[in-house]
Structures are given as structure tokens and as C-alpha cells.
Symmetry: C2
Subunit: 331 residues, 2 copies
């Protein structure tokens, strides 16, 4: 599967991708020549390009047009990117943002997505993921009506989970208070997602169903404990010139489950291309995301842009924002 390249092939592939990123046009042998500074003739380049095409790294829109790199070429390119460095000015801007912003988790992540979007000019996302490693800090049951209540759980990272509980039979305020206290004792301080007391024995028998319903709701709240924040969607109109692609991107961003799955991948920084996300091969889309380091919440931030983006810049920005966000949340 893995094709082996000599140095020149490698240079040419790199130039092909970079020129295409720069211009958006099919890349001619001449352009590759100028970009690489290779001391060979156009014909040689053309031979190599033809070989690359045979191997699936490039296509021609038509005979006698230049080459356009395929996803495979982009994949190779990003896999062989050198290390990236964040420009100091950019770094400062990010640090400035996080030192001045004063928001609770949800709004902080939304603001982070907005920042990332503004800096990269692509739509951006931020998520908190999974209940791993979080502890319950506060637990409340708030009665809304005779037979409905709202469960509110706050974790040590500042995440607030809500869940509606509907009781089979009406419950009085005092009864509910007792249930709240009893369940609260059991869960506050514990890990989120830990097994909650199986049998509440020391409670009025006729309140047992209520406790059970509350505990069930709590478990439900825990399982769906991942929030997605999206920012800068309006950037799309200048990023893609094609309504179909815009629609696909909007669908991805709106499909919360799908987006969370995309972002649930490996720790560290990852680059995923449309074809690797189960999208149509020809969808011009790449997701660059990075996990937020640090003790607390498992989170991830990223951007969603076209395949032809300035990866070095974007990667360093995403990682920079991610790092600073981690520092911020750790404090």
C-alpha cells in the first residue's frame, strides 16, 4: 500500500500540494519546477507527475491541464509535515485572550471556538468530552411541578449537567427535599459516572420509586455529558465557493453526535480528511483538532476547513489555543 518515493518524487509531491494550496488551481509541471528549484527539465517533472497520477496521488481535470492532488496526496503531505512553530504575536494574542476572559465553562468554550475561528478564518469547534475524571461538586433537585423536577449536577471542572425527571406520582416539596439530600450525600464528591448506590435502604419505602427515578435520570445525565460549541460558521461562505460543500459542512456541524465522534479520536493533534470521515471522497473538507492538555476535563478544540489550508499555521494555532485553554482550566 505504502508507495516508496525517492527524494525527487517527494519534493514534487510536496510542491504539488503546496502550490495547489497556494493557488487553488491545477498545478502545471512548470509551476512545480519553479517551486522546487529542482535543476531538472519540465519533461522529467511531467514523467514523475504521470507516475504520481498512476499511484493515485493526483488527477487531471482533463487532458492537458495541470494536476490536482488527491486526498491521498494530502494525507501523505500532512503526515510528513515538519514541526510547526507558533508566531510570537499569535501566541501573545491567545495568551491575552485567556488572561482577560472571565467566563464559566460553557461560555468559555464558546468564546474559545469564536477565537479560534477568528484567528484561522475557518469555522471552529470546542467540546468537553466524557465524564472521565470528573467529580460531582453539587447536586440539586429542583421541583418544577407536582410531578416534574430538574436535576442539576455541577462537576469540579465547572460543567453543569441538567436532566428532567418526571415522576409517576406527584411528590411533595418536603419529600423531594429528603430525596435530594439522600442522593446528594451519596454522589457529591464521588466520580461522575461511578456506580450510584444500588439500594437505598434507609429511606421511606414509598419514596423509593422517586429515588430510583432520580438516580436513573442522573445516570442519563452522565452518559450524555458532552457539549459541543461551534463558532464562526459565517466564515464558510468565504472558505468554500460551493453551496453543496457548505451544506455538507453545516450538516456535519449540526449533527452533534457525528461531530463528537469525529472529535473523540486519539489524544494529541489529528488531521482528518473528508474521505476518512465517511463523507463523499470529493468533499473538500479537513478537520484539524487537538486535545486540551491538563488534569481536568477531557476536551478538544479544532477547526473545519478545506483541504487546501495552510496546515502549519492552522496546526500551530489550534495547538496554541488548546494549550492555553488547558492552562486556563487547570488553574
Amino acid at each position: 500500500m505504502e508507495d516508496v518515493f525517492d527524494d525527487r518524487r517527494d519534493d514534487i509531491l510536496k510542491a504539488l500540494v503546496e502550490e495547489h494550496i497556494r493557488t487553488g488551481e491545477p498545478v502545471s509541471s512548470r509551476a512545480v519546477l519553479d517551486a522546487t528549484g529542482l535543476g531538472v527539465s519540465g519533461a522529467t517533472i511531467r514523467n514523475d507527475l504521470a507516475a504520481l497520477e498512476r499511484d493515485g496521488y493526483a488527477v487531471q481535470p482533463h487532458t492537458s491541464a495541470g494536476r490536482v492532488p488527491t486526498s491521498k496526496a494530502y494525507r501523505y503531505y500532512v503526515d510528513h509535515l515538519g514541526p510547526t512553530r507558533l508566531r510570537v504575536a499569535t501566541q501573545n494574542r491567545i495568551a491575552g485572550f485567556f488572561s482577560s476572559v472571565q467566563l464559566e465553562l460553557g461560555r468559555l468554550l464558546k468564546a474559545t471556538a469564536d477565537l479560534l475561528s477568528e484567528m484561522t478564518h475557518f469555522p471552529a469547534v470546542a467540546v468537553t468530552s466524557g465524564p472521565i475524571g470528573e467529580q460531582v461538586r453539587a447536586f440539586n433537585v429542583v421541583q418544577l411541578a407536582a410531578n416534574t423536577a430538574l436535576l442539576v449536577v455541577v462537576t469540579n471542572s465547572g460543567r453543569v449537567c441538567q436532566e428532567l425527571v418526571r415522576f409517576q406520582a406527584p411528590v411533595t416539596a418536603t419529600e423531594l427535599d429528603r430525596v435530594e439530600e439522600r442522593v446528594g450525600q451519596a454522589v457529591v464528591g464521588c466520580d461522575l459516572g461511578a456506580e450510584v448506590m444500588p439500594t437505598p435502604s434507609d429511606v421511606d419505602p414509598h419514596l423509593r420509586p422517586v429515588v430510583k427515578e432520580v438516580v436513573e435520570a442522573l445516570r442519563k445525565a452522565e452518559t450524555r455529558s458532552a457539549d459541543l460549541y461551534v463558532g464562526g460558521t459565517h466564515q464558510m461562505a468565504s472558505v468554500w465557493d460551493n453551496l453543496n460543500t457548505v451544506q455538507r459542512v453545516l450538516e456535519v456541524l449540526e449533527g452533534e453526535a457525528r461531530m463528537l465522534e469525529i472529535l473523540a479520536r486519539s489524544p494529541g493533534t489529528s488531521i482528518q480528511l473528508a474521505s476518512e470521515l465517511g463523507l463523499a471522497e470529493d468533499t473538500d473538507l479537513a478537520v484539524v483538532s487537538s486535545s486540551v492538555p491538563g488534569s481536568g476535563v477531557q476536551g478538544r478544540v479544532g477547526v473545519i476547513g478545506p483541504m487546501r489550508m495552510d496546515y502549519k499555521k492552522v496546526i500551530s494555532t489550534v495547538e496554541g489555543v488548546s494549550r492555553e485553554l488547558g492552562d486556563r482550566m487547570g488553574s
Copy 2:
């Protein structure tokens, strides 16, 4: 300002708008003739159309093309719409949705926006607005770090407000508990937005600054207590055929403040056109929204679509969803 029309002018204007809604093309005198069933000749229609153009109700893309209605024409048209009636099947679908859905306020509104979007095929929004008429049901201060805490307020309608508090000096857990209890006593059961106790006299003097900071945060939480939920943005790609318009719509949807302002208008149902929202006159955009009736939260739901939409259908759907949502929240 208000032009006076005889019956025929009125019919023609109505036909002009409806034909344009139907086809999206400039409307010819012939098309008006067929649509109205008026027993007059084309020349007469043309005279009237020319008059309408003079009065600013229509424009020609070029000499010898049909007429396209202007915003002014649409405004006139929607102001003179007859009463709308919801189809029974649609009504049932809405009722079915609300009787089966089991979510807390935030997710309920998100789901409502999604429903509305799916039914109308336009992007949809739902908001809770202002603190008017809401009472505080629960009040919590959750410590996140030595000098930071999270304020969580739950209202009787099930809305959860959060606000981060950063203290000047570190605070111990027991101290914070006392502050929580003290402030809680003062605000639970009171109207949200009511003046909160000006001077806490019966509290340790060295805790006073902490109380003050908590109260300040509480007030801040109250003032920004309006949440915006958006659904079905991916519909945009099939609604508008123009990236610029899509971008403008995305900007409107993302500009939370702007969107809330748009939706903060008069009670009942309203239709607002781009030109009336401070957007470029030529932006093809209309917002149909309706306030959620009922005792509880002041809310509003709506859709954002092109000017040429089937207003009767959309209005009845928006109102239907709004009504059912009101019923649901009232219970």
C-alpha cells in the same frame, strides 16, 4: 406614504407576489392575467404594473422583462394576508412531538427549533427572553478553586443560569457555604431581577466582600438571561442559491445579540423583512416569528427564510409550534 389601491390593483399586486413566490422568476403581465382570472386585457395589466413600479412595488431586471416585487410589495402582501389555518395533519405532528418529548428547557428549545426547521425547511430559532415574571427556585454557589466559584440559579420555568465569580481573596469552603445559605435565603422564591438585599448586615464583616461579589455576579447573570437556540442551518443551502446571502444569514444567526433584538419585538406573530432589520435592502431574507403564549417564560420561536416563501403555511406552522410549546411549558 400609504398608497391607495382599487380592487384590481390589489389583485394584481397579490398575484404579482404570489406568482413570484411560486416561480422565482420575473412575472409577466400574461402570468398575472392567468393567475387573477381578471377579465381584462394584457395591456391593462401592463398599465397597472407600470403604475405599481412607479410607486415602488416592483422592479424590472431589464426593459422588457417581467416584474419582480420589491420588499415594499412583500410588506403590503403580508400585511393583507387573510387568516391562516393549520392543516390537521401538521397540527397532529406538532402535538405528537410535544407530547412525546421529555427534555429540560434548553434541550426542549433546541429540539423545538429543529422541529420547526424540519417542518418549514428553513433555519429556525427559539429563544427564552428576559427575566420578567420568573422566580428563583434554587440558588447554588459551587466552589471550583480557592478564589473562584460558580453561581447556579434555577428558575421556576426550568431555566438554569450560570455565572463565574472570582473572589479578590481566597475563601474557605465553610465560608462559602455560609454565604450561599445567606444569599440563598434572600433570593429563593423572589422574582428574578428583583432588587437583592442592599446591605447584608447579619454576616461576618470579613465575608461582606464575598457576599457583595456573589450578589454582583447574580445580577450579571440576570441581565444576560436570554438563550438562543438555532436549528436546521443546513437547510440554507437549498433555500438560497447564493453564497453571499448564506453568509449574511449565518452572520445574523451567529450574532446572538442582534438575533435576540430581532426577536424581542412585539408580542404575537411578526414578519420582518431584511430591509426592516437594518440589512442591505437587496438581501433576500424574511423572519417569521411568534411569541410563545402562556404564563411562564417569555419566549419566541421563528424561522428565517427567503422573502419568497409560502407565508400562510409558514405562519400557521410557526404559530402552531409556538402554541403547543406554550401549552407544554405551562404544564
